[in-house]
């Protein structure tokens, strides 16, 4: 796929009607957009309609795109706004509290691993420096990470996907998802903590051997 990082070039090619460029952008963002829409509406089918509608909005708005935010942020904002409007029409005033709530007590590490009352490690993690790189980069390891991300609450999953898989900046994610910087950081923190935990269990099992 061609470079998706140069917005000015992308917009120019889209405006010129370059289908390959459009297909590339669709392939890159469609899955995220669907999940995002799904947070605001009742069903997968409605989310698909929302995303289709949003893409039409993107095409219609393209001539007016001024590059004040990145193209992908702008596209995601259109999805969020379209989904919100649709959700309201369906009688859903706000996104699911389950998706957007930040639970108060969700420690990064199992509290049992610290000395009670004192708070230093009783069962400290051990370095992964000795784990061979081919083990870390094995398909099974990535499957483990995927599983961990899929098991996260939707918004946590989306934040870690955008930040750590797709490499967005925190500002882009805040703008795209319409969340505060603090909220974004908490969501990212929870997500990374859980993925680390899953990897630790997986790699420790591996190291313990059969």
């Amino acid at each position: 796929m061609s470079d998706l990082s140069d917005d000015a070039q992308l917009v120019e090619r889209l405006r010129a009607g370059d289908e390959g460029t459009f297909a590339g952008i669709v392939d890159r963002y469609q899955a995220s957009m669907l999940r995002l829409a799904q947070m605001y509406v009742a069903s997968r089918a409605v989310a698909e309609e929302v995303v289709q509608e949003a893409w039409i909005g993107v095409l219609k708005g393209l001539d007016g795109f001024q590059g004040r935010s990145s193209l992908r942020t702008w596209i995601f904002r259109i999805v969020v706004n379209t989904a919100k409007t649709r959700g309201q029409r369906e009688g859903r005033s706000m996104p699911f509290s389950s998706a957007f709530a930040v639970a108060e007590d969700e420690p990064a590490v199992d509290p049992e691993r610290f000395v009670p009352g004192e708070g230093n490690w009783s069962a400290a993690p051990t370095s992964w420096e000795g784990v061979p790189e081919e083990r870390l980069l094995a398909r099974e390891t990535f499957a483990e990470i995927e599983r961990a991300i899929e098991g996260l609450p939707p918004l946590q999953a989306e934040v870690i996907r955008l930040r750590d898989v797709q490499g967005w900046t925190s500002l882009e994610v805040c703008n795209a998802l319409d969340i505060s910087e603090t909220n974004q950081r908490v969501l990212l923190h929870r997500a990374r903590s859980k993925v680390r935990g899953a990897l630790e269990r997986y790699l420790d099992e591996e190291r313990a051997g059969p």
């Binding site: 009607g17 289908e19 459009f22 297909a23 669709v26 392939d27 890159r28 469609q30 899955a31 995220s32 669907l34 698909e48 995303v51 289709q52 893409w55 039409i56 095409l59 219609k60 420690p107 990064a108 590490v109 509290p111 610290f114 004192e118 708070g119 230093n120 490690w121 400290a124 993690p125 051990t126 370095s127 992964w128 420096e129 870390l136 980069l137 390891t141 990535f142 990470i145 995927e146 991300i149 870690i160 750590d164 898989v165 797709q166 490499g167 925190s170 910087e181 950081r185 990212l188 923190h189 990374r192 903590s193 993925v195 680390r196 990897l199 630790e200």
Partner: protein, 77 residues
């Protein structure tokens, strides 16, 4: 700072979102604590490995519809 606090501050630390004096407290702890040093190394490795995941593919029918919409948009514009 104790270890249980440090693990909750790791993301703020890596994001550069900590006040300088808190950051110094955290780094001081990190220098003295093997467990926390290993923890933050694991978080960094987690971020690196997560970065190797590739974006998912989308269902083919939605894609075709969109490409059709794009062609229509192009010919109408």
């Amino acid at each position: 700072m104790v270890c249980r606090e440090l693990v909750e501050l790791v993301t703020a630390y890596l994001e550069g979102a900590m006040a300088p004096e808190d950051r110094m407290r955290l780094e001081r702890h990190l220098h003295e604590c093997y467990g926390c040093a290993a923890y933050i190394e694991q978080i960094r490795t987690t971020i690196r490995l997560t970065g190797h995941l590739t974006a998912e593919n989308i269902p083919a029918e939605g894609r075709e519809e969109l490409l059709r919409a794009f062609r229509e948009w192009k010919s109408s514009g």
